[in-house]
Symmetry: C2
Subunit: 405 residues, 2 copies
C-alpha cells in the first residue's frame, strides 16, 4: 500500500498505460486498473519499492512479491476462494524458497534472488490457481527459469523494484503460456545449461525435495519493522534505543560508532547516499534517521530526508566497523556526546528476526501507517480485517478490492 504512492510507480504506470490491456485487476493503493499481467508487475513493484516487504531470512528472498502479486491479479480474473488462494500462495512460497535454498549457500550474490528464484514461485502459485496439469506445470517452471533475471547493480535505482515486480509478472505469464500448451524445458532447473548451472557455483538439489510437504519455508518468513534491507536493522534498533533510553538529541552528538555483522557493511555501506532509494543501502543514513526521528519507516528514506541538513551532518559523524563474531541479527551502537560522555546500546536479536518477530499488533500498526493518506482509517482497518479473514473468504479478490481508495 505505502509503495503505491512512490514516484517509481507513477513513472511505471505512465510508461505502461498506453500498452496495457483491459482493466481486469486493481492497482493496489491507487485508482488505476489494468490487465492482470501489468497489475502483477505494478503491485509487485509497490510491494518492494520501500524495501519494507517480508523476507525469508535464510536466503533474503522476498517471497510475497512474486507469489502474492501474481495470485492477487489472477484472483480478479477468475474467482478463487480464500482457501484456494492460500493453498496456491503457500505452494508458490515453498517452491521459490526451496529453489533458493538449493543455491543460496553458494549463490552468486550479484543476482537478486527474488528476480531469479522468485519468478518460479509466481509461476507455481499461478500454475496451481490455473489448475495446470503436470506437464504444463513443468513448462511453467521452465518458462519462469527462462526469464530469471536481475542484477544487484540496480540497487538504489527504480530498476530494483522493477526486477522484483517482473518476477511476479513473468511467473504469471509463464503459467498463462503453459496453460496454452506452450512448452518450456522440463530440465530447466537441473539441466546442464539450466538454472542452477548459471546461477551458482554449486547447488544442492536435495534441499528442494527434502521434507517437502512436512516442513514449510513460509514458517521462516519474517516481517520488517524498518523500511530498508534487513542487514541494517540491528544498528537501527540500537540507535532508536539510544534516543529512547538516553534521550540523545542530534545536537548533543560528537560521533556515532556502529559495530555490525560483516554483511551489513558489505550490503549497506553507502556513506553519502544521493537519493532516497540509495539511502536504504546506507547504514550511516539509517543510524542517523533512527537517532533523529526515532524511526526508520517509509518517510525516513525519501530524497527530502537524505538532503535534510541535520540528518546529513549526523550521517557524516557516523562510523561503522564489522565484528565477525556478531550474529546477523546483532549490533552495537555507541554514541559519543559532546560533553565527553558515551552511551551504548547493544541489540542481540533485532525486532523482526525469527527469534523476536513483530507481534500482530505491530503488524497492524505497520499496515495502518502505510495506508495513511491512501485509505481512510476505517478502510485501513477493514483491509486488515479482510486479510485476516482470508482463509474463510468466498472470494479472495475481496482483498484487492479493499486495497483501493
Amino acid at each position: 500500500m505505502g509503495g503505491a504512492r512512490h514516484e517509481t510507480i507513477d513513472r511505471a504506470l505512465a510508461a505502461i498505460a498506453p500498452i496495457s490491456g483491459p482493466a481486469q485487476a486493481s492497482v493496489l493503493g491507487r485508482c488505476e486498473r489494468t490487465d492482470i499481467a501489468h497489475a502483477a508487475l505494478v503491485n509487485g513493484m509497490s510491494a518492494h519499492v520501500l524495501d519494507f516487504d517480508d523476507t525469508h531470512l535464510r536466503t533474503l528472498l522476498h517471497p510475497s512479491v512474486p507469489a502474492a502479486s501474481a495470485l492477487l491479479a489472477l484472483a480478479e480474473r477468475q474467482t478463487m476462494s480464500g482457501a484456494e488462494f492460500l493453498h496456491a500462495f503457500v505452494l508458490g512460497v515453498e517452491i521459490e524458497c526451496r529453489i533458493a535454498n538449493a543455491i543460496y549457500f553458494a549463490h552468486n550474490t550479484d543476482w537478486y534472488i527474488t528476480g531469479t528464484a522468485g519468478v518460479c514461485g509466481a509461476a507455481a502459485a499461478a500454475g496451481k490457481a490455473l489448475g495446470l496439469a503436470e506437464r504444463e506445470f513443468a513448462s511453467a517452471i521452465g518458462l519462469a527459469c527462462a526469464q530469471a533475471a536481475g542484477m544487484r547493480e540496480m540497487a538504489g535505482t527504480m530498476a530494483k523494484s522493477f526486477i522484483h515486480g517482473r518476477a511476479a509478472q513473468n511467473g504469471l505469464l509463464a503459467a498463462l503460456l503453459a496453460q496454452q500448451g506452450f512448452t518450456g524445458a522440463e530440465s530447466a532447473l537441473e539441466g546442464g545449461h539450466g538454472f542452477f548451472k548459471v546461477m551458482a557455483q554449486r547447488s544442492d538439489l536435495s534441499r528442494i525435495v527434502s521434507g517437502l510437504g512436512e516442513t514449510f519455508e513460509i514458517a521462516l518468513n519474517t516481517y520488517k519493522p524498518y523500511a530498508c534491507g534487513v542487514v541494517a536493522h540491528p544498528a537501527i534498533e540500537a540507535c532508536i534505543r539510544l534516543r529512547e533510553a538516553h534521550g540523545v538529541r542530534p545536537d548533543d552528538v560528537e560521533r556515532i560508532e556502529l559495530e555490525v555483522h560483516p554483511k551489513a557493511l558489505e550490503l549497506a555501506g553507502i556513506q553519502s547516499p544521493p537519493t532516497g532509494l540509495k539511502s536504504k543501502w546506507s547504514l550511516y543514513h539509517s543510524a542517523a534517521v533512527a537517532l533523529v526521528d526515532g524511526a526508520a519507516g517509509e518517510h525516513q528514506y525519501t530524497d527530502a530526508r537524505v538532503h535534510d541538513p541535520v540528518v546529513a551532518r549526523l550521517r557524516q559523524r557516523t562510523q561503522a566497523r564489522t565484528n565477525p563474531d556478531y550474529a546477523d541479527v546483532e549490533a552495537r551502537a555507541t554514541c559519543r556526546l559532546k560533553d565527553g560522555r558515551a552511551v551504548v546500546q547493544h541489540v542481540e536479536k533485532v525486532i523482526g528476526s525469527r527469534e523476536r518477530p513483530m507481534s500482530d499488533r505491530d503488524l497492524d500498526a505497520k499496515v495502518a501507517g502505510l495506508c495513511a493518506g491512501i485509505l481512510s482509517p476505517q478502510k485501513a482497518i477493514a483491509l486488515i480485517e479482510t486479510c485476516r479473514a482470508l482463509p474463510a473468504l468466498p472470494d479472495a479478490a475481496a482483498i484487492a478490492r479493499a486495497a483501493v481508495p
Copy 2:
C-alpha cells in the same frame, strides 16, 4: 514471415490475447493486431522460431530479432522515415553486437547471447527512435540489463524463441520506461554486480568502444540458407551436394559419415530428436533431410519430417566425428553405398558464411519461400520491394503493413 504460422506463435497469441493492449501494431504474417510491446514479442518469436534468422557469426547473436522487432512495432505507433528506422536499427545492432563482442570470447555459453546482449540492442534502437536524452538512454540500457535472461537449456522447446522475442519486447519496454524518467543503474554494464560480471568470466570492455562509428558490426551479419543453427550448415551443404553430384538416393545408402568442426557436435549433437524444434539441433537429422529432400528449410524441421520413416532410418545410419583442424565453416560428408562404393563431398566455406554470402537473388527466393501460403506471390514481391526501398520510405511502418495477409 514463415515463423508466423508455427504453432509456437498460435499458442503464444492464445495466451496473450486476453491481456493484450490496444491494436497498435501488426503481427507479421497474420491478421491479429496487438499493442506494440506484445507485437515486438510475437514478431521477435516468429523471426527466430525457425532458426532461420540472421546471425552475427563472431558471437552467434541474432541481431535483427531484438532491434528490428522492437523498432517495427514502434514505427506503427509513431511515424518514422525509413532513414530514421535504418539509423536506429544500425545503432541497435552495433550496440548489441559490441556488448556481445566484449564477452563472447569468454562468454558463459549457458546463456543465449541474444537474450542477454540482444535486449540492450532493442533498448538502444527503441531509445534512439524515441529520441531519449543521454541520461534516459543510460537508464534504458540499465533497464535492459536488468532483464537480460535466457538459458540454453531451453533448446528445442518453445521457450527458446520466447527468450528471443522477449529480448525485443523487454528492450522496448526499457526504452518506454526510461522515457518517463524511470531509472536504471548507469553502471549496469561495467559495475561490480553488473552485466559483464554475471555473464562471463572475463570481459574486454575496449571491444565496445574501439573503432566505434568507424567499423560496423552489421557488416559482419550473415543470412542463413538453412533453417537450423549455423554449426550444422557445412554438413548440410555437403549432403545436398552428395545428392546433386552423385545422385545418391536414400535406398542406396549404407551409411553417412560426417566430419565436422567440434562446435557442430557440441551444439547439434542430438541423435534422435523427438520433435521438429529439437531436430534443429541434430546434425544427424539435418544430414538425413538434406540427402532425402535436397533441402534444409522450414519444411525439413517439422514433427512430421522427424517421424518420417525414410528420414528416421537414414538419421540412424548417420555418424559424425569432429576434426579440430576444421574451420567452423567446413565439413566433409562421406556416403558409403550399399553397392560398396563411397562418394565424398568436402565443403570448405559453406554458403551463407561471410566468405560466401547468399546473393540478393538467393535472399529473394528465401523470402518468397517463407511467404508462400501467407501472402500471394504478388504481395510477397511487393514486400521484398518495400524492404529494399526502406532508405527512401517516408514511413517505415509500410514494411509492417506489407507483411500482413
